[in-house]
Amino acid sequence: MLIIGEKLSIIAKRVREAMMKFDKGPIQEIATRQWKEGSGMIDANIGPAEDGGEKMMEWMVTTIQEVVPLPVCLDTTNASAIEAGLKVHNNEWGRPLINSTSNDPERFPIMEIAAKYNSQLIALTVGKGGLPADAEERAGIAAEIMARAMEYGMPVEDLYLDPLVLQIATTQDQALKVIKSVKMFQELNDPPMKTVVGLSNISNGMPKALRPVMNKYLFALLMYEGLNAAIADAHEVVETAKTIDIIMGRTLYAHSYLEM
């Protein structure tokens, strides 16, 4: 299970302030903590970043990789910011991941960038026509994105399909459809397609204390269906990940398995 540490987001006040001042301290502290807590990649969410996005992404990637030997997930809608980030990304720590493309023609150029820089890419299974209704529609969109990726010279093995987790508090019926999507996505290719979710979206709008509970149980169900990666708070999900790996027989049990 690849945990993509989610805490470096422009939405968080402390992170936003550090980004505005180009203050490395808080960014590196959070990245280091996510790494130590079990992340295999660090998400750098700089938002739409319409002004100065290139410089910002460049700074984020180098700031993170200065202290953490992990690849970075470049999270923005600004294509040139992504390209700037990829140029400075240290692939010695693993291949980068772009977050994200979708079936919206405006997002297709991202595939070209991914192919050019040999990056992996998250594909949100949404199109221009709003949110998908069910797993079948998501799988249909996924298939279209896969075909598009091949046109742009990108191996589908480098795609992570994202079924788009929605809030349980407002769209309760979508949770099961997301779980089913993760299962269906894998059947679209041999070897199976890789899957990823933005986990904590499920608990958006819930009371703060309950959010980890919801996140962890959804995570367990998704792991059972074969999920490969999650953008999540490592501290919150690492125990679930290790435990499900034991139950699924992927790790040999020992009393101290959580400490490993």
């Binding site: 992927r250 040999l252 009393h255 400490e259």
Partner: protein, 312 residues
């Protein structure tokens, strides 16, 4: 189209562990299942150590005793005999005389024996206690100190007594043998506990507990096989230690290797039967993944060496 045999590739690799200072041995290092070198590398052949004791082998069957007649009265002479006459690649000194039910030798006695044997041989030494949980803590600590910087294998650390033995191995630069009782999960747990003390996992050897042919060999085989699979296929860092098969002491106390032909007519002559029993037990566990074997009868050792030649 010509048939191409499918090849497995593995994500994990067994640690390579070296012992000795003058002449050395190296075990482990493979990234494939035992002897499957057509799929990867098996850089080191299994090593067989000759077992000797700190006290005369009164409890060994006559078949074995007569092999070491005239040398087994003194561990130094015995060790030299194994090294010089039998070409032993390593010596395993079992301090069985320290057991309270045996001669109850003291830690000082044990330390002296270790020093004397080390002074007489060039090949690496494996130092084993008597498997008495309490007594071994004192004995193995004294032995580790007496052998300081000689890069020995020392064991066996058990779940009940590992802490002092681990500390002594760390302080005196030795490799450690950790033994659990035929349980893969407890074997992993013990490795974790030992490394959590700061002991390098690359200096560890796992003994999942041996058993002789006909007396639970299949259990040992299965645990060893699953340890190796966890190491190679799941890249389980806690299970990538080389494994020990402590063959002789198990193979030479069962009915089939000790009962006379009159008592066991179906088994045929006693001497070849005992040798065969030790050979088969060792051969099976080597196939399961043991990289270090402790054995007693020279003819059994030679048979297993020949077996290795054919497999490699």
């Amino acid at each position: 189209m010509a048939f191409t045999a499918p090849n497995e590739t593995y994500s994990g690799k067994v640690y390579q562990v070296e012992a000795g200072t003058d002449k050395t041995i190296v075990i482990g290092g493979e990234n494939v299942l035992p002897f499957n070198s057509f799929e990867g590398n098996m850089p080191n052949r299994p090593v067989i150590a000759y077992e000797i004791q700190d006290v005369p082998p009164d409890d060994w069957p006559d078949t074995l005793k007569k092999v070491y007649e005239g040398v087994s009265g003194d561990p130094v002479t015995w060790a030299k005999y194994c090294q010089d006459k039998l070409n032993a690649k390593a010596i395993a000194l079992r301090l069985i005389g320290t057991h309270p039910d045996r001669q109850n030798r003291s830690a000082q006695d044990a330390a002296k024996t270790v020093k004397d044997v080390l002074a007489a041989i060039k090949v690496p030494l494996i130092i084993l206690g008597s498997n008495h949980v309490e007594k071994d803590t004192a004995i193995l600590v004294a032995a580790a100190e007496a052998a300081k910087d000689k890069n020995c294998f020392i064991g066996k650390a058990l779940e009940e007594n590992y802490k002092t033995i681990v500390a002594a191995c760390m302080a005196n630069n030795h490799k450690l043998i950790a033994m659990s009782q035929l349980d893969i999960n407890l074997s992993k747990q013990l490795n974790i506990l030992i490394t959590q003390m700061g002991f390098d996992k690359e200096r560890l050897v796992t003994d999942p507990m041996c058993s002789a042919l006909g007396y639970g060999l299949d259990y040992t085989y299965s645990v060893m096989e699953r340890i190796r699979l966890a190491a190679l296929t799941q890249n389980d860092l806690t299970m990538q230690t080389p494994m020990l098969g402590d063959i002789g002491m198990y193979a030479w106390k069962v009915k089939e290797s000790t009962a006379s032909e009159a008592e066991l007519p179906v088994g045929g002559a006693l001497e070849p039967r005992g040798i065969a029993w030790e050979t088969l037990t060792a051969g099976a566990l080597m196939i399961a993944g043991a990289g270090l074997l402790i054995m007693r009868h020279p003819e059994a050792v030679n048979a297993v060496e020949k077996f290795i030649d054919e497999l490699i």
